[in-house]
């Protein structure tokens, strides 16, 4: 889709003629509706491996979509879908999802691991993943309440080198054991 909102208002008066002839381009909200079949209504996911997009940082979404499209970030399906949209569409969808209300999830969490993760994140992750992962800043995604199985899948993509970790994040991650990383992910998934 190349057209945006400009120009269609002119046609509104002639509407009675034909629905097709004078259709306006879809709004950001409307393009985003199609994503809900996988990510849930308004981006609140109920599927354990599917990431929630609701209240995600706008820049993090745009960034993710651009990287999916270029192949910089590995994906199963997002790269193929991203090719059907323009940068303007990414911006529109990111704006829509970032404005949705926080989607709190009830997950099966190991409380001891979450506790250990809470302690570890202070020193290792909190500089970027702000407010217990509740706040997404710029390209840093919100992780609070994100589905644990999804976080684990993404972490293993980082560790295999297929997904590129931000350098400063990699410096922290390399000093942590798999067990500690697991604890950190339990923590973020548990934050409501």
């Amino acid at each position: 889709m190349k057209k945006r909102w400009s120009g269609w208002t002119l046609a509104a008066g002639a509407l009675a003629l034909s629905a097709t002839a004078f259709a306006a381009p879809p709004s950001p909200e409307m393009i985003s509706f199609a994503c809900a079949g996988c990510h849930g209504t308004n981006g609140g996911s109920a599927g354990l491996t599917m990431p929630t997009l609701a209240s995600q940082s706008k820049t993090a979404i745009v960034d993710a979509m651009k990287k999916f499209k270029s192949g910089d970030r590995p994906s199963t399906v997002m790269g193929r879908l991203a090719k059907g949209y323009s940068d303007a569409d990414f911006d529109a969808m990111a704006t829509f999802f970032s404005k949705q209300k926080f989607h709190s999830t009830a997950q099966t969490i190991d409380a001891a691991k979450a506790k250990q993760g809470a302690d570890l994140q202070e020193a290792n992750c909190s500089r970027c993943h702000l407010e217990d992962g509740k706040e997404g800043k710029d390209d840093t995604p919100v992780m609070a309440s994100q589905w644990l199985p999804y976080l684990k899948m993404q972490m293993s993509l980082y560790e295999s080198g297929k997904r590129k970790m931000p350098e400063k994040m990699a410096e922290k991650v390399k000093n942590l054991s798999p067990q500690e990383i697991d604890a950190l992910l339990h923590f973020y998934a548990s934050v409501k």
Binding site: A12, A19, P26, M30, A46, G47, T76, G84, Y85
Partner: protein, 435 residues
């Protein structure tokens, strides 16, 4: 054919004199002319069919404009999803619970009025829908009724054939029937799947079913084999992926044969015939007949000249046969530039949203909006690997056109991850439909 007044009365069948409640299962359903749910001051949209398209249309109508009253009419109390029913048929899952939804939460969350009844006629001129429970008025109607079968094209097919040779192309009792037949088949037996020419519901569905049944036989009945008779000359969906799966995992017990259109059945002889020339015998026969829009669309004069599918406008999804009636999902023939949107649950979901947007806009005298939507279909190739097709569609010059279409890599390097994502897709799309 348009529905004239006389035919319309005939369809209603003088049912008002009969006590009807709950007898919709025997013979053709009979409509009741008793007026029900009188329309108050509010404008009303009646949505027919609570499946992949109808639930979403009803929900998004209410999300977009609370001032419009929405009545959702569905003949069953619960909806059983076809997606993932192949797992159940092939014994990988043990029941249909994970893919069965009800309507209570959807109705309560969005203020949708549910009517459990079978629609027997849609009268666009009078703006009325006739159901087994009575007749009600609408300002606009959205119909997402799915498919029925062109069994008349198969010689010898009668009302009992689907018991003997289940299609399992509507999920529920039919899925159980096919599953049970396979489980009670002796090892060494032959399973035959017969699939129709395109277009039919879910292009990759029969090929996925072939993979999963072959998987079942390999594991539980190793001396048995499976034959897929495809009416199409060649595999019509995700061909590189399915042919790779068949040659990698199932080459010893599975055979694909293209260009075999079944035209005759012989139930007592346990065989199907291609043009009366070639017979195929099977201990279990899964006969998927050719399809068309659901019966109600034929009865209401909403199918096109082909007598099969319903032509609609590509923006508003309004029927080109009758104003005021919008049609989405499997039943439609959409104006398309290039390969059309497949008849899938995901397509129906995407279409429902833009249909709802444009019905609301038309009712509020606002300009209509161009379509933008997605189709993704996950197909399992065994019990832990899946592949997919992903497509984005948008309106271009009055037609729906794909701006991106691609399938999974053929080395199956992502197939385990996609299997996990596929499960979440089902969970999310059914949650979207039921809450």
């Amino acid at each position: 054919m348009t529905l004239d007044r006389r035919n319309f009365i005939k369809l209603m069948g003088g049912a008002s004199t009969l006590a009807l409640a709950g007898c919709a299962t025997e013979g053709p359903a009979v409509g009741s002319s008793t007026a029900i749910m009188p329309k108050g001051g509010a404008r009303r949209v009646v949505v027919v069919g609570g499946g992949y398209g109808g639930t979403i249309a009803a929900k998004y109508l209410r999300m977009l404009d609370q001032s419009i009253e929405v009545v959702l009419i569905e003949k069953n109390r619960q909806f059983v999803s076809c997606p993932f029913s192949n797992f159940y048929i092939a014994g990988i899952t043990q029941d249909l619970n994970a893919q069965t939804i009800g309507y209570d939460k959807l109705a309560a969350n969005h203020g949708i009025k549910m009517l459990y009844a079978e629609v027997t006629a849609i009268d666009p001129a009078a703006k009325k829908v006739v159901t087994t429970e009575g007749t009600l008025d609408f300002d606009r109607c959205i119909v997402s009724p799915g498919i029925d079968f062109r069994t008349e094209e198969i010689e010898g097919y009668n009302s009992r054939t689907a018991e003997a040779f289940p299609h399992a192309w509507k999920a529920g009792a039919q899925s159980t029937l096919l599953r049970n037949q396979m489980q009670s088949m002796a090892d060494g037996g032959t399973v035959v799947i017969s699939m129709p020419l395109t277009p039919y519901r879910c292009p990759p569905g029969p090929y996925e079913r072939a993979c999963l049944i072959a998987h079942y036989l390999k594991k539980h009945k190793p001396k048995s084999k499976l034959i897929l008779l495809d009416a199409n000359p060649d595999v019509v969906s995700k061909k590189p992926l399915f042919t790779k799966a068949w040659s990698t995992y199932y080459k010893d017990n599975f055979q694909y044969v293209g260009g075999k259109k079944v035209t005759q059945v012989n139930v007592s002889g346990k065989s199907v015939s291609v043009e009366g020339i070639e017979d195929f015998k099977g201990d279990v026969i899964n006969l998927i007949p050719p399809q068309r829009a659901a019966n109600i669309m034929v009865q209401s004069g909403l199918v096109g000249d082909d007598k099969k599918w319903c032509p609609v406008d590509a923006v508003s999804f309004e029927s080109t046969k009758h104003k005021g009636v919008h049609i989405i999902g499997d039943a439609t023939a959409l104006p398309s530039d290039g390969p059309p949107m497949p008849k899938s649950g995901y397509s129906a979901n995407s279409q429902a949203k833009f249909c709802a947007i444009n019905v609301v806009n038309l009712m509020n005298s606002k300009p209509t909006v161009e379509f933008s939507g997605i189709n993704v279909c996950y197909s399992a190739i065994d019990d832990h690997q899946s592949v997919s097709i992903a497509q984005v569609f948008a309106l271009a010059n009055g037609k729906i056109k794909s701006s991106a279409t691609a399938i999974s890599p053929a080395d199956f390097s992502l197939a385990k991850d996609e299997h996990a994502y596929g499960e979440s897709w089902l969970k999310n799309i059914l949650t979207e439909m039921s809450t």
